[in-house]
């Protein structure tokens, strides 16, 4: 029974993926397709963020820097060289290398800094990348950004949709395996009690760096897909708003769960789309982020585990109620 319960979310998720996979073949709506593509991309980004905040207990306010590195890598390769698959792969490799190096350094800093400082420092570092992108005009065209062509394969929206869907599924299952691996389990132990983890004989810093690097690389991948979807990149990919998106999605969806960020990304992108539509009726909806800001604050205050976490807690309580008598008796005896 236990085994089944463990597998159940994966099975549900697999069915869900299958449905989404079939969607473009049965229902033709360009807008929905684009919206869903966006959701997949941000799901990857939010899951990578959750690996830090939810599984390792690290609050980073600079996640946009990895995202931006990915976006600019692909943009620059496509613009400077040929928009074909070879250079696409080069861009991916470059992204992985750059994000791995940066996240390794940032991970090293987690050793010394308390949560406050770490959040501040990552926020500032992301700010630094933003400035860099603005100033290095020969490469980035500064604030205006630049458009670029993408490999033929990705021009077709359906193809790209499927690629992003597969990407999301792969990241989901990959991270699921990762957080359930012996190493991933140690990350959760660190989140719960860092000193104790160390006193069990684990080198806490190594684990934090590992989490930082994996998370950074995945965020970079999300950045690549994002830039391809727009065929355009500008400095906004390094902005605080990108980090805030990940934060909102993860927190509202539920930290420390992988389904949470996906659900969060879905809710926020859908609501964003819907509210922007409403903006024609009333201008206040253009400021949709204000609603999310308020919801986010309420969630942090009252449901710090988000939607998925709260549901899980309720389920947990119900399960516990079913056999409390037995365990009480044993404890007494």
């Amino acid at each position: 029974m236990n085994k089944f319960a463990d597998k159940r979310p994966a099975i549900i998720f697999l069915l869900f993926i299958l449905l989404l996979f079939l969607l473009p073949f049965v229902y033709e709506s360009r807008n929905l397709l684009i919206l869903l593509t966006q959701i997949f991309i941000f799901s990857i980004f939010a899951m990578s963020y959750d690996l830090l905040i939810g599984f390792t207990g690290i609050v980073s306010f600079g996640h946009a820097m990895y995202f931006g590195l990915g976006s600019y890598s692909i943009g620059i390769f496509m613009k400077r060289f040929e928009p074909d698959m070879t250079y696409f792969l080069w861009a991916v490799l470059t992204t992985i290398a750059l994000t791995a190096i940066v996240s390794f350094i940032v991970g090293l800093l987690t050793l010394r800094l308390k949560s406050h400082f770490y959040a501040m420092l990552t926020m500032s570092l992301a700010g630094l990348f933003l400035v860099l992108a603005e100033k290095w005009r020969t490469l980035t065209f500064g604030n205006d950004g630049f458009t670029f062509r993408v490999p033929e394969l990705f021009i077709d929206r359906t193809n790209f949709y499927l690629l992003c869907l597969i990407g999301m599924a792969a990241v989901f299952f990959g991270l699921r395996r990762f957080v359930n691996s012996p190493l991933g389990r140690v990350l959760q132990a660190i989140r719960e009690n860092e000193q104790r983890t160390a006193s069990l004989g684990f080198q806490v810093l190594h684990y934090k760096i590992a989490a930082s690097v994996v998370s950074g690389v995945l965020a970079g991948i999300a950045g690549i897909l994002y830039a391809i979807s727009l065929r355009y990149v500008n400095t906004s990919v390094f902005s605080m708003d990108i980090t805030l998106d990940a934060l909102l999605m993860t927190i509202i969806g539920g930290v420390g769960t992988l389904a949470g960020p996906i659900i969060g990304a879905g809710i926020i992108e859908f609501a964003h789309d819907w509210l922007t539509g409403l903006a024609k009726e009333h201008w206040i909806f253009e400021r949709w982020i204000i609603f999310f800001g308020i919801i986010y604050i309420l969630v942090v205050m009252f449901f710090p585990q988000g939607i998925v976490g709260t549901l899980r807690k309720i389920a947990w309580k119900r399960k516990k109620k079913s056999y409390p008598v037995k365990s009480e008796q044993k404890a007494a005896g």
């Binding site: 207990g57 609050v59 949560s115 959040a119 501040m120 630094l128 400035v131 400021r287 982020i289 986010y296």
Partner: protein
């Protein structure tokens, strides 16, 4: 000489504005162990509300007072509803104050529109004084004087008044302050209010100085203020003024000589300080 003076004056003025923001951050951190990521939002609110009042009343002075009052009110509300429920939980504090920052900036856009607004100093602060070769821009001198007055005022409060001593005592030992019959919650609120008021004052002063204000200015300056707080030593009030001047001056000179590196240098300085001397450059405590 003229250039040097101008850059120095410019740097000092910027430094004073950053100081007004950083001083509140550092006091709140020292006493309450809360790092307020929404502090920049209060700064931006000061700018918008102050300049709005200025435009309605045609009096810059009333605008400044209005900004400070706005800061006080927002500070009290923030402390009571946002910070108080999450005392002692660092992660929640960080997350919630960042959320507040987001809401505060968006609110500005809702009320005053998403575009940037222009601002200029009142007539009596326009232009400059010429002293020999040197050209002193009045408004910059004005900012520096206000900044110094605030510094002196807060310093006086901390050293010479009962409430100031209580604030300092609270930084050292909160429990004992309470055991001596003082309601520390009220002290927290007071400090938060003062900090927010200073941030709002900084905001309204910035408007005519830079000529434009926009909703994102809070975040921009908040990052500078964080740098200052780190360099000055978290919770160290005097350190924050020195660090603010340092950052202001370096920004001003760098912006002239190597414009592309000005922000990078400050960040780098912060990173180095965090790694080598996390307690800050000007902190005596190990």
């Amino acid at each position: 000489m003229d250039l040097f003076m101008n850059l120095a004056l410019n740097g000092l003025a910027t430094g004073m504005l950053i100081f007004l923001l950083a001083a509140g951050l550092t006091l709140i951190f020292g006493l309450m162990d809360v790092l307020n990521f929404a502090h920049g939002g209060l700064f931006a609110w000061g700018a918008y509300s102050g300049l709005w009042i200025y435009s309605k009343t045609d009096s810059f002075l009333i605008g400044i007072i209005g900004a400070i009052v706005t800061g006080f009110i927002l500070g009290i509300v923030t402390e009571k509803w946002i910070i108080k429920p999450v005392y002692g939980n660092h992660v929640q504090q960080i997350l919630i104050t960042l959320g507040l920052m987001m809401v505060l900036s968006e609110m500005l856009k809702v009320i005053w529109g998403p575009n940037q607004l222009t601002a200029s100093p009142p007539d009596y602060l326009k232009g400059s004084w010429e002293i020999g070769e040197i050209n002193l821009i009045k408004y910059r001198v004005f900012i520096i004087i206000v900044g110094l007055l605030v510094f002196a005022g807060v310093q006086f409060m901390l050293k010479k008044t009962k409430i100031g001593l209580v604030v300092q005592a609270g930084v050292m030992n909160k429990e004992m302050v309470q055991a001596l019959g003082i309601n520390i919650q009220r002290v927290f609120m007071f400090v938060f209010m003062i900090g927010a008021g200073m941030a709002a004052l900084g905001g309204v002063l910035l408007g005519p100085y830079s000529g434009v204000i926009h909703a994102g200015m809070g975040m921009e300056f908040a990052i500078l203020a964080f740098i200052v707080v780190v360099i000055g030593g978290m919770g160290n009030f005097k350190g924050s003024v020195l660090a603010a001047i340092l950052v202001g001056l370096s920004g001003s000179f760098m912006a002239y000589y190597v414009p592309d590196l000005s922000l990078a240098v400050n960040m780098l300085l912060m990173a180095v300080v965090l790694i080598i001397r996390p307690q800050g450059l000007f902190s005596a405590k190990g």
